[in-house]
Each structure stands twice: as structure tokens, then as C-alpha cells.
């Protein structure tokens, strides 16, 4: 791999071959996304914190002080907001850039031409979205501890909580891939209004799923929202005194959501990427 004297620089083509090269290409594409996030870190952070912070503040603090919610409510709310952020930040991180990339800027083309299978580029999108989602969820922990008065977690549940957050973020990234590849840019606003808002309020974020017995139809709808299983699973792990779904149900449901969204999303991605 000698330095080129003139003309086209040699980059050591003989050292490259398809097998191990794909791993490097994958890391390269992921590295690019992470580097861009790093450059816009302040924007990213405010974007991630704003909505959950206000939810936390109004539901956890304001309504509590006014006496409209019982003191234990914050204990129930924080795991829900961690779940919400894990899924939502991941959805947004994956879906929005893809809609723009595929329809207008074509900026993703250079990555589609990397020596990496198109499916792996799609997987990278999921992993990147999930990493943003995971981060967005973790930064809510200190925020929650600062804003809310009474939060006590069962720390022995942390490992399972971590697994749930990773799965929830991955499901969010995969769902974002579905939206990003199936929705045209003209409809993205409508989709966000019709899909995102209901997801926001049916994820058992602000209430425990099992206590919805009197609102059976709503409970059924909540059961279809993957966020429900992150919220409930986290409650089971961190605040077991709040009524919650069994952990294995949550894990199973999330693995299924990852698989379902993953398959649809990757197929959609390959279809958009290749003519």
C-alpha cells in the first residue's frame, strides 16, 4: 500500500474482499450517522427532551401540586416516559431522514453504493435509530429524578429494564423504517398526525395497562401498541408495586414487534433502494 506518486491514489484494493469488508462498511455507515448526530448534539438533545420533559412536569409536578393526581403517580409515569422516548425518538430518527432522502435529496445513494448489502444498510438505519432512542430514553432518568419528588426504583430490575429499552428502541427503529419507506413525503404530515399521536396516548405510558378493565375497547387498542410492553415491562422491573404485565409477555411482544416491523421495513427499504 505505497503512497501514490501521481494520478489515482492507491487505497489498497487487494486487502479488501467482500466478506469481512461488509462489517467495516456497516461500521462506516453507522459511524457517519453517529458523527452527524454528534455534530448536532445540542439540537438533538433539546429535541429529545422537550416533549417528555413537559409531560413529566405537567403530569408529575403541576397536577400533583394542584391535587388532581395522587402522590404515587410520578412513580408510575417515569417508566412510561422512558418507554415512550425509547420508541419515539427511534421512530423519528429513522423515518424522517429516510422520507426526505428517498424522495428528494437522494443523499443516501452514496451509502447504498457502499460495498454493503442493501439489507444491511436498512439494518444500520434500525440500529442507528435505536441508538438514538436508547440515548433519548436514558437521559430521561436524571431528568425524572430531578423533576419528580418521589421516585424509587428497584435497582435489581435494571438489567431486565436495559433489555426492554434496547428491544423497545429497536422496535421503534424498525417501525420508523416502515414509515420512512412506505410513506410518501406529501403524506408524512398526515401519517405523523394519524399514527404518531395515537401511539403517544395508547402506549400505557400515563396509566397502567391492567387497570383498564372498565375500558375494555381501549385496553385492546393499547395492547396493539408496542410501547405498552416497554412501559409495562419497565414497571415490572423498576416499580413492581404498580400493577403491571408479566415480564415474559412484554419481552415476547417486543421481540415479535421487532421481527414484524423489521421484515416489513427492510423489504420496503430494499424496494425503495433498487429500481
Amino acid at each position: 500500500m505505497s503512497a501514490p506518486a501521481t494520478g489515482v491514489p492507491a487505497t489498497g484494493a487487494p486487502a479488501r474482499s467482500a466478506g469481512p469488508g461488509q462489517g467495516r462498511a456497516f461500521l462506516g455507515v453507522l459511524g457517519r450517522d453517529l458523527a452527524v448526530t454528534g455534530k448536532e448534539f445540542g439540537t438533538f438533545l433539546s429535541q429529545v427532551l422537550m416533549q417528555p420533559f413537559f409531560l413529566l412536569f405537567v403530569f408529575g409536578v403541576v397536577l400533583g401540586q394542584l391535587g388532581y393526581v395522587t402522590p404515587g403517580y410520578a412513580q408510575l409515569l417515569l417508566p412510561g416516559l422512558l418507554a415512550l422516548n425509547a420508541f419515539f425518538v427511534a421512530v423519528q430518527a429513522t423515518a424522517i431522514p429516510l422520507v426526505i432522502d428517498f424522495s428528494y435529496t437522494k443523499e443516501i445513494e452514496d451509502r447504498l453504493l457502499a460495498p454493503l448489502s442493501t439489507r444491511l444498510v436498512a439494518v444500520e438505519k434500525i440500529v442507528f435509530g435505536a441508538s438514538r432512542g436508547l440515548f433519548g430514553s436514558l437521559v430521561m432518568i436524571p431528568v425524572g429524578y430531578i423533576v419528580l419528588d418521589e421516585v424509587t426504583w428497584d435497582l435489581s430490575g435494571l438489567p431486565i429494564a436495559a433489555v426492554l429499552l434496547v428491544l423497545g428502541s429497536l422496535a421503534g427503529g424498525a417501525a420508523g423504517l416502515c414509515i420512512g419507506t412506505l410513506v410518501s413525503p406529501r403524506k408524512i404530515n398526515v401519517v405523523f398526525a394519524l399514527v404518531i399521536t395515537p401511539l403517544l396516548f395508547t402506549g400505557s405510558t400515563q396509566f397502567p395497562f391492567l387497570q383498564l378493565g372498565n375500558l375494555r375497547w381501549f385496553q385492546v387498542i393499547c395492547a396493539l401498541n408496542p410501547i405498552t410492553y416497554v412501559s409495562e415491562g419497565l414497571r415490572g422491573a423498576l416499580t413492581p408495586s404498580v400493577p403491571h404485565l408479566a415480564g415474559w409477555v412484554c419481552l415476547l411482544a417486543l421481540v415479535a414487534a421487532c421481527a414484524l416491523f423489521g421484515v416489513i421495513g427492510i423489504r420496503g427499504f430494499v424496494r425503495r433502494a433498487l429500481d
Binding site: M1, P4, T6, G7, V8, P9, A10, T11, G12, A13, P14, R16, S17, A18, G21, Q22, R24, A25, L27, G28, V29, G31, R32, A35, V36, K39, T105, K106, E107, E109, D110, R111, L112, L113, A114, P115, L116, S117, T118, A273, L274, D275
Partner: protein, 340 residues
């Protein structure tokens, strides 16, 4: 043109003896469309060659390049780059080809240098080499001062040069340029042309699509003319022009000849396709005759026998004008005048 194999580090996985690009009976039909965008196209590009794909809009050029660059899936046929079947091993093919697309697609989240450095990262160029390589290419493309500029702030010509630099970052064996100078000003076009010539000299095979005749004639060693997804002609620009029947002209202004007899004798000269008298401006040239002799191939080649015949007929030539056909005449002859 160098037929490199030793000059450049060919990837171990590629077949050094295979053509740089080969397309055989390639067919691409989009979706439910009944007509094929590419309809049984076959051609091969030699290593180190600059190959031009020429055709009207919608002829199938971009689709063909799309298949070769793994972005379009073929319907049937074979397409290889550096001996790698692009459909069977798209990942391997992407490692040995570079693409300069028709539409700028620079990454606007990164600056100019970032576009190059990350491209190198995708292609597994060692970290230690990326930045030096990027700076070297920025310099070569006249963009050294734009290294930290966002692509949004580059002019069309600068963006195009940056895209070419990006395509070269991973040292491809074959570079595809899809309409490389569309929308560029003459200076930028010339710069791009010079870089293409330079690349070819250094052993990179270049496949370019264009509908700019001058560009094709100037840059390409060989040109394939495509229309309706089919190959109509394939040869060097000069051979294509030479093969054109009766498109070159010799305009003669002469005096002292029996025009009727001379026309008859000229028609018998080898290579002459026709002779017609064209009206001169009466009074200005005092009874001179104007003849337009249409010849096959190049006008210059037919000139001596034509002049000889005129002299034999006892006429005096006062003016000769040669009209050489261009690649454009070949193109129009093959693809017609109809608008697309």
C-alpha cells in the same frame, strides 16, 4: 490508451482478463410497463477505455448504467463490471466501481471533505489514509479551498467535481459518469473533460453517458449509440462518421465548365454520392457555377479525385469548401429528428 493491469492494483476478486464492463442481451422492464427501457443491449468495454453511451433522452442509457452500478435490477441478460456479475455479487461490484450520478447527491450533513472521508470509510479505506487521500483529491479537483464548505454552498461545477472526487476515493477500476457535464458552464465542462482524460491515462476505465455529441467525440475512444433500449451502432467516433453515407460535402465554385457534363463525370467518381448545383448570388461572381458534391465518409479523402475530375473537364476552381459530417449527423441519421 493504456491497457492497464500492472499499473493498477486490481482487486484479487476480479478477473484481470475480463472486459472492464460487459453487457450481454440486457433487458430491463420497469414495473408494469410493456415496453422495455433496455431491450437486448450488448456491448463490452475494454480496460482503460473511455466508452461513451450516446442516445436521446429516454433511450435507456441511465437505466443501463443503473444496472451496471447495482441500483437497478435487471429483468434478464448479463451485466458484469471487472468480471463481477453485478446481479450475483452486487457487494463485490460496488467495491470496484465508482459512480458520478446525473443528479447531485452529496451528503449535506457533511462538508466537502467529510463527503470524501466518509465515502472512504464506507469502502474500508484505512482510517490513517482517508484524510490525506481526501485532501489530495480535493486539490486535484481544484477544491482545496472548499474543504470545509457545505455542499449546499458549492456551485454546480464545484459540486460535480466533488462528486467525481468522491467516486475516486476508493480507487475504483471502472468509473461511471452519467451525463457528467449537463448544466455546467464551459470552464467547468472543460475541467471535467480534462479530468476524465487524465483518469483514462492513469488506467481507470471510464463509462460515460451523454447526449452531448462534442463531448462524446472528444472524450470517448468508442461510442455506442443507443435508442429505444437497443444498440444502433458501436465504433470509434471517426469510424462512425466515416461510415455515414453521403453526409460529407465538397462545395465547389468554378468557371469555364459544361456543367451538365461535369456533373455526369463527377457522379462517376468513387465515393461520390451525388452532385447538385446550388444557386450562387447572381451578379456577384460573374457567371461562376456552384456545385455541391456529397461524398461518403470524409470529405478530405474524396477531394483529390473530385478536383482531378474538374481539372480534366477543363474547369477552373476558384473556391473549395469542405463540409465534414459530425457525430451529430451520425446520431440524427440513426435516431431520427423526432422530438422526445
Amino acid at each position: 490508451m493504456s491497457t492497464d493491469t500492472a499499473a493498477r492494483p486490481a482487486s484479487e476478486r476480479t478477473d484481470g482478463t475480463a472486459p472492464a464492463v460487459e453487457v450481454r442481451d440486457l433487458v430491463k422492464r420497469y414495473g408494469r410497463s410493456r415496453t422495455a427501457a433496455v431491450d437486448g443491449l450488448s456491448f463490452a468495454v475494454r480496460r482503460g477505455e473511455v466508452f461513451g453511451l450516446l442516445g436521446p433522452n429516454g433511450a435507456g442509457k441511465t437505466t443501463t448504467v443503473g444496472v451496471l452500478t447495482t441500483r437497478v435490477t435487471k429483468t434478464s441478460g448479463l451485466a458484469t463490471v471487472a468480471g463481477i456479475d453485478v446481479a450475483a455479487d452486487p457487494v463485490g461490484a460496488r467495491a470496484v466501481l465508482g459512480v458520478v450520478p446525473q443528479r447531485p447527491n452529496l451528503d449535506r450533513s457533511l462538508d466537502a471533505r467529510g463527503n470524501l472521508v466518509w465515502h472512504a470509510a464506507y469502502h474500508g479505506v484505512p482510517r490513517a489514509r482517508r484524510r490525506a487521500l481526501a485532501d489530495e483529491l480535493l486539490d486535484r479537483m481544484g477544491l482545496a479551498e472548499k474543504a470545509s464548505t457545505n455542499p449546499d454552498e458549492l456551485s454546480g461545477g464545484q459540486a460535480q467535481r466533488l462528486i467525481i472526487a468522491r467516486g475516486l476515493m476508493h480507487d475504483p477500476q471502472v468509473l461511471f459518469l452519467d451525463e457528467p457535464s449537463t448544466g455546467l458552464d464551459p470552464q467547468a465542462r472543460l475541467f471535467v473533460h480534462d479530468r476524465v482524460t487524465e483518469l483514462a491515462a492513469s488506467g481507470v476505465t471510464v463509462v460515460l453517458t451523454t447526449h452531448d455529441m462534442d463531448e462524446a467525440a472528444k472524450l470517448a475512444d468508442r461510442v455506442g449509440i443507443v435508442d429505444h433500449g437497443r444498440l444502433l451502432a458501436l465504433d470509434t467516433p471517426s469510424e462512425l462518421v466515416a461510415a455515414l453515407p453521403g453526409e460529407a460535402t465538397i462545395d465547389l465554385t468554378l468557371t469555364g465548365a459544361d456543367v451538365g457534363a461535369l456533373r455526369g463525370r463527377l457522379t462517376e467518381v468513387r465515393g461520390v454520392a451525388g452532385v447538385e448545383e446550388i444557386a450562387g448570388e447572381a451578379g456577384l461572381d460573374g457567371g461562376a457555377t456552384h456545385l455541391r458534391v456529397s461524398v461518403d465518409g470524409e470529405a478530405g479523402a474524396a477531394l483529390p479525385p473530385v478536383l482531378g475530375t474538374v481539372a480534366d473537364a477543363g474547369a477552373t476552381v476558384s473556391q473549395v469548401e469542405l463540409g465534414e459530417p459530425t457525430l451529430e449527423d451520425v446520431f440524427i441519421d440513426l435516431t431520427g429528428r423526432g422530438l422526445r
